[in-house]
Amino acid sequence: MEGLVTQIQGLSGTASDVLSLQNLLKQADDSLHAESTRLPPFLDQLDPSKHSLGYLYFLEACTAGPVTREQASSFVLTIARFISSCVAEQIRLAPDKFISVCKRFKDQVLLLEEPLRGVAPMLTAIRKLQLSSEHLTALHPEFLLLCLLSKCYKTALSILEEDIFEVDQPRDLFLYCYYGGMISIGQKQFRKALELLHNVVTAPMSTVNAIAVEAFKKYILVSLIHHGQFPTNLPKYASSGAQRNLKTLCQPYVELASSYSNGKIADLEMYVEANKDKFESDNNLGLVKQAVSSMYKRNIQRLTQTYLTLSLQDIANRVQLNSPKEAEMHVLQMIKDGEIYATINQKDGMVRFLEDPEQYKTCEMIERIDSSIQRLMTVSKKLNVMDELMSCDPLYLAKAGRERQRFDFDDFDNVPQRYNI
């Protein structure tokens, strides 16, 4: 054991040394695990910032067994210190060990019921493990879970802003998008939540999994809140398993959506009351209530399409609100949120609906469009690369080729062409 420690201390200098150290450590791994109880004092001899790889192996062996509460708090401190001071290149050589250490860290933090302590170290861990900011690691969903439990949503938002292009494990993506959706709902950023939940629901899956079912329920509700409607069919890029099974598994929500589209608030509220316990058991009752209140907004927006001016009393009647005062409050809130453009004349209680005042003649608009075009260009390049990869995929070629044999030689039409403008 001491010999191993001295070897770690000696071989942590250059990159080639570290590789040979890694081989040594792999061979010594079993013996480390066997002696896991004796290891903690050795940890003090190693410096996490210089001997990250060796420290990682030792740490992983230490935390392998079941951990008591007292041990948990000391381990939490050690692991947090390790994460903040370790060297990224060394730990990337043993990513699965690092991931398992961090996962145990999360378990211990939850055991101590202090998820807030785990948020910052987990964020550092993600940054060190990621190969690029577009890479989704197994630590992302753990981090989001900690943020959710500790209710610090703002730090999570910084991670959610990044676009993801590479994923290690599909389960990570599902969990990440699901938690991300929940965090966005918490921050009332419904558009982002919709995007993330949409990803879960339409992700390729050979069989429907529980995460997708839960996500689908939230997806229906958020879609009602944000768009005021729910498209009954999933887009064609959703897997066929999802298309067939998800709706049957979330029956009460689908019915909620259909009664929403009728536009009558009283019916909606009755339905919600009737199925309250089902919604509650899914922890979605708050979201359902938000969906009901968004119904008023939807109705007011529908009014803007028919009328140019309307009195507050009329609005209250049409939208089934109790008094013109409530109608005024709703309209004011919507004007502030930017959902409608209107002016309220307080003297005679009339509301005038206006057009979108955006004239598209400012430099800021130019910058916005320009940045969107740049983003679209990068996406387009990546898509082209993926398309080419897919065309060369043997699975695809096998199935595409199979269909062609039935036809004549004259009927030869190969892989579909691009649009020729």
Binding site: Y237, S240, K361, I366, S372, L376, S380, Y396, P416, I421
Partner: protein, 315 residues
């Protein structure tokens, strides 16, 4: 051999002449049998591939009014290596023909290709001196030099200089300007851009138009960068301060912007935004079509219960 001319004549060259000369040269060169591609075989033979740079000859014609000489057109002539002179009867016949069509045009001189004027050219030059007392020699350098910004055309005159006590005729370089008529500009433009003859589909026309604009803007950008670099150098003191140049730059800057009113800004920005939005829309469509194909392929490859049966039978 070449210093600057002191005759005080101003020369105006039409682009038609340049196009003619380059066309002549290109035709002759491509009609010859191309030499073997490998350079090693050429050196093994010990023979320098002289055929690679044929010299072509011809006459230039135009008008001389006072001190201005304007070269309008040119025609080709055969060079007789035995007599080291141009084909005289042919030249006279051509001259008569051209006189019928363009009564004002005279033979002003002759042209050839090469990198520099040579001694043997003086022979031809003297031979032409009976038609025109002071003929011109237009020389086109056919080697393409990408670093060179000017046209590789030089005009030489002959002057009597006293060298080593002997009065000799030597070639002296003269400066010239390019003069264009509207019709010429259109045809030169056409040749320069090599547009497809049938007009092509809308896409190729748009692409050609945009390529033209892009190259123009690129050139403008590089020229401005050169100026900027120069001015920065002048500011730092590396380059001696030249006031006339500074005045020119300042007058150039004062010419922009041409219009500066709020209505113009509004309209300009709105149109700019419209164009950007259209580009955005086009990119979107392109992206969605790629995405669509990708999803189709993915579904075909990986979906367990994908639709069988693809297409209906072709009747």
């Amino acid at each position: 051999m070449a210093s600057s001319s002191s005759s005080g004549l101003t020369f105006k060259l039409h682009p038609l002449v340049i196009v003619n000369i380059s066309d002549h040269y290109t035709r002759v060169k491509s009609q010859m049998n191309p030499p073997p591609l490998t350079s090693t075989s050429a050196t093994v033979n010990g023979v320098e591939p002289l055929q690679q740079a044929p010299r072509v000859y011809g006459c230039v014609i135009g008008v001389q009014r006072g001190r201005t000489v304007e070269i309008f057109n040119s025609f080709e002539l055969l060079y007789d290596p035995s007599t080291h002179s141009l084909d005289r009867p042919f030249l006279e016949k051509k001259q008569e023909l051209y006189k019928k069509v363009f009564p004002h045009f005279y033979i002003l001189g002759w042209y050839s290709t090469g990198s520099d004027a040579q001694e043997s050219d003086m022979h031809i030059h003297k031979a032409l001196m009976d038609i025109n007392e002071s003929p011109l020699y237009v020389l086109l350098n056919p080697t393409i030099n990408p670093a060179q910004k000017d046209l590789p055309v030089t005009i030489y005159e002959s002057e009597l200089h006293v060298i080593d006590g002997i009065p000799q005729l030597i070639f002296v370089r003269s400066s010239y300007t390019i003069e264009t008529v509207e019709a010429e500009r259109i045809s030169v433009d056409h040749v320069a851009h090599l547009k497809p003859s049938d007009g092509g589909s809308a896409a190729t026309q748009l692409a050609a138009h945009l390529t033209g604009i892009h190259s123009a803007i690129k050139m403008l950008n590089s020229r401005i960068r050169v100026l900027h670099h120069y001015l920065v150098g002048m500011q730092k003191g590396d380059v001696p301060c030249e006031n006339s140049l500074l005045r020119q730059v300042s007058s150039l800057l004062r010419r922009l912007p041409a219009i500066e009113s709020e209505k113009f800004q509004d309209d300009f920005l709105m149109e700019y935004n419209d164009t950007l939005l259209i580009t955005y829309l086009a990119m979107f469509t392109n992206c969605s079509s790629t995405m669509n194909e990708l999803v189709d392929k993915f579904n075909t490859a990986y979906d367990r219960h994908s639709r069988r049966g693809g297409r209906t039978a072709f009747i």
